[in-house]
């Protein structure tokens, strides 16, 4: 790069571009930073609003309230369990459903595709879903959250398309060397598909981590609550005490902000670990001629 001499116009473009992107970065980062500042500010300051570049009257009172609850760590455990186990199972099921569908020779492929696409277009609705979950004995169980989203039709289609783009010659060569289809799938196709697996894992894990609605609908016992459900309760309990006029020692704004931060940090950590797989280029040059 350094060796190529740049024209004046190119330099100006670079500078403008950098400034523009930095501004864009700040604009997208500020809302998050604002929440962080609010969460560490004193409630009375937070209530008055305005711009925050730094916490005003630094305090960790809000975190004490949120993390001091009896059920918050249980909720963290539940959420981690649902997210990790749910992602692993979900990716396994999605991949093993998508792979055969990428094969031209699969009998009944069209019908299968229609079946899967139909669920993408038409939902059963919440009450039939609830009845199914109940018949399966999964009400008030974390498995309801894990199993319901395991084979998302959209994810299946995305994966199927990726598999379909893997040159058939690679599989043929393995086949000639004596590998069975399952071995080809596990040893050859899956490692080659890390980009799509990383993408689907990311989608799934973010979805499962944030899954609030199903949590509310299917979980009753507070020992089973996942993080979003419990955090929501914490926030609503604040305004509830206020509207009742009773002991209002805490301030909703800071509590809300700290729950946002608490809920966001763990899932934010997933991104850097998956980033390295978003490089599609492993297969370049694997097929010649």
């Amino acid at each position: 790069m350094a060796l190529i001499k740049k024209s004046f116009g190119g330099k100006v473009f670079d500078i403008c571009n950098t400034i523009f992107l930095i501004l864009l970065g700040i604009i997208t980062f500020y809302p998050f930073w604002y929440e962080v500042c609010i969460s560490f500010s004193k409630g009375e300051q937070a209530l008055r609003g305005g711009l925050f570049f730094w916490p005003k009257d630094f305090t960790i009172e809000a975190y004490k309230v949120v993390l001091g609850g009896q059920y918050i760590w249980q909720a963290f455990r539940n959420s981690f369990f649902v997210t990790i186990v749910g992602t692993v199972i979900g990716v396994m099921i999605t991949a093993s459903l998508a792979y055969p569908m990428a094969k031209r020779t699969l009998p009944g492929k069209k019908i299968l595709t229609v079946f899967i696409l139909a669920t993408l277009l038409f939902h059963g609705g919440i009450i039939p879903t609830y009845l199914t979950v109940r018949k399966l004995g999964l009400v008030n169980s974390l498995w309801a959250l894990i199993l319901l989203g395991a084979a998302n039709p959209f994810n299946v289609m995305v994966m199927r398309n990726f598999f379909a783009n893997i040159p058939e010659e690679i599989e043929e060569s393995a086949f000639i060397d004596g590998a069975s289809p399952i071995r080809i799938f596990t040893v050859l196709i899956l490692p080659l598909s890390m980009p799509v697996i990383a993408t689907i894992s990311l989608w799934l894990s973010v979805f499962l981590w944030n899954d609030f609605f199903r949590g509310v609908m299917f979980l009753n016992d507070r020992t089973k609550f996942v993080l979003p459900v419990l955090l929501r309760e914490i926030i609503q309990s604040e305004s509830q005490i206020q509207s009742d006029g009773r002991m209002t020692e805490t301030i909703t704004q800071t509590i809300t902000a700290s729950t946002v931060v608490i809920a966001l940090i763990p899932i934010l950590c997933v991104y850097p670990f998956l980033q390295k797989y978003f490089v599609k280029g492993v297969m370049v040059g694997s097929v010649k001629g």
Partner: protein, 523 residues
């Protein structure tokens, strides 16, 4: 090759097995507690079988213990001491915003708990579908609850003449009456501009004018408004905060209420008084005495503006007067001499004054499922919890005397030691107020106490609270009113468009609504 194939299969199969095992064990641990608990309890009680009531509360109480904590034990002991034995309860809570969807789900799948919170609207529908138990005869067997219930609340919880839900009740002390709303005013601003508390509508006008133009916060900038309000919530009728309740009250009407005129009920928004109020508000808005964005202000923004000393008078709850309230604290931190008071609503040209009254049964109503097997025992239990403890202090509402609160018998006041959250964690207060009885004996702060008393003195009554089918058929009428209200007040439309509104209101279903309302009212 064959070997590694086997390996893979072994790994895959064992993984499946593990998943299946975890799945099963988890399911068991999820299902058994209730059955197991019930069985154990039955065993403990010996001859007498214990009935466990499933109770669903519309409340967020993240600290409430899953097993009911100390509170459950003490409440059961209290019930036993007063002659109700063989009872146990299991409380589940659902946050208010999601409650209705969950309740519908439980009803649709035939899993309604024994006792649950409900809204009037849902109650009507559930009663129609036979999900609920009729409570008339049961309510008569509740001597303690009867002491606290207001007849109008019981009336509101009826559907086709039968009682389907228990309303909340009120203790007899003056602070425990239902209303808490009024004009919240900056008293220090009144002093700064040298004016008295406004009594008439004219005084009121002078005050908001001075609050806007005379720099009441003495910061040398023209950055304040006299009167603020809040975005309308179209689902409720008693929307004082959005429609400047006390100003309409000065003309004796409220735009979303039903008022009797010559033996007929008329919708408040179609009465000529409404036009007079609109004319007044329009001129005030034109003089920039009202916050320009009042119609889109949400609660958070309004509190932000209150604590930033940007607005002098807001229609709001008396709770802001509580020195412990967050807005009050935040305001005082910025302006130490700031003081909030609640004033009497201004008197109109014909001597009317008042606030829109609250919908009866608004606080909280609870119903019993039609499938409940021991309703008699359940109501006995609910009632016994309302029996006043010998000491006279609160029990269900607050917890253990000495630990959670202190009670002064001579002044009949309560002083909380624990916060609500700590009370929840013990298993008391909101989650176990199965029939809510308003008990604000903790209100000792004089301005707040006075504010609450004022809030209950001047009330504009609604002559018809119920819903008729036509209201469900024409749900957009409230939207129509709100649109014209906002546009006329802002001067987007001339005042005379009110006539256009009335014509439209009748044409777009209002005529049918009015007819049905009058038919039902005459019964």
């Amino acid at each position: 090759m064959k070997k590694s194939m086997q390996q893979i299969m072994t790994v895959a199969l064992s993984l499946l097995l593990v998943i299946a095992m975890v799945g099963c064990s988890d399911k068991q641990s999820g299902d058994t507690p209730q059955n197991g608990e019930q069985g154990e309890k039955a065993g403990e009680a010996g001859q007498q079988e214990t009935v466990t009531f499933k109770i669903l509360r519309k409340i967020s109480a993240p600290e409430y213990p899953a097993d009911g904590g100390v509170g459950r034990t003490l409440l059961l002991e209290y019930a036993a001491k007063n002659g109700v034995t063989g009872v146990d309860f299991k409380v589940d809570t659902v946050a208010p915003n999601e409650y209705d969807s969950k309740l519908n789900l439980l009803a649709a799948s035939g899993e309604l708990p024994d006792y649950f919170a409900i809204t009037l609207k849902t109650m009507n529908r559930f009663a129609e579908e036979d999900f609920l138990m009729e409570l008339d005869s049961l309510a008569e067997k509740m001597p303690n609850a009867q002491k606290y219930w207001r007849p109008e609340d019981l009336e509101a919880a009826k559907y086709k003449g039968k009682l389907y839900a228990f309303p909340g009740g009120y203790r007899p002390e003056p602070v425990n009456r239902p209303y808490a709303g009024g004009f919240v005013v900056r008293k220090d601003w009144l002093e700064n501009v040298g004016l008295e508390k406004p009594e008439t509508l004219d005084d009121f006008y002078h005050v908001i004018k001075a609050f806007t133009l005379n720099d009441p916060d003495q910061n040398g900038e023209n950055d304040t408004y006299g009167l603020g309000a809040q975005k309308a919530d179209l689902s409720i009728m008693d929307n004082n905060e959005a429609y400047f309740g006390g100003i309409f009250g000065a003309y004796g009407v409220f735009p979303t209420f039903w008022h009797e005129r010559d033996g007929q009920l008329k919708h408040g928004s179609t009465l000529p008084e409404t036009k007079e109020v609109l004319a007044l508000l329009q001129t005030w808005y034109k003089e920039k005495l009202i916050e320009p964005e009042f119609m889109i202000m949400d609660k958070k923004q309004r509190e932000e503006r209150m604590s930033n000393s940007k607005v002098g008078i807001v229609p709001a709850d008396a709770w802001y007067l509580n020195p412990r309230n967050s807005v009050n604290r935040s305001l005082k931190q910025a302006v130490p001499e700031a003081e909030l008071i609640l004033i009497e609503p201004p008197k109109g040209p014909k001597g009317h004054m008042g606030w829109a009254s609250k919908a009866p049964g608004y606080s909280e109503i609870n119903a019993i499922s039609a499938q409940c097997e021991h309703p008699e025992l359940l109501v006995k239990f609910l009632d016994v919890l309302l029996k006043e403890p010998e000491s006279g202090g609160p029990f269900v509402n607050a917890g253990i005397e000495g630990e959670s609160f202190t009670y002064d018998q001579s002044t009949n006041t309560v002083n909380f030691i624990q916060t609500s959250k700590e009370q929840w964690a013990m298993g008391f207060a909101h989650p176990v107020q199965f029939i809510k009885v308003v008990d604000r004996r903790w209100v000792t702060e004089p301005t707040l106490k006075q504010g609450l008393e004022i809030a209950n003195q001047y009330v504009i009554e609604n002559d018809f609270w119920k819903t008729v089918p036509a209201m469900r058929d024409y749900p957009d009428l409230a939207k129509l009113w709100n649109k014209y209200f906002v546009e006329i007040v802002c001067g987007e439309r001339p005042l005379d468009d009110w006539e256009e509104y009335v014509a439209k209101w009748y044409k777009q279903g209002g005529a049918e609504v009015e007819k049905q309302v009058n038919e039902q009212w005459k019964k």
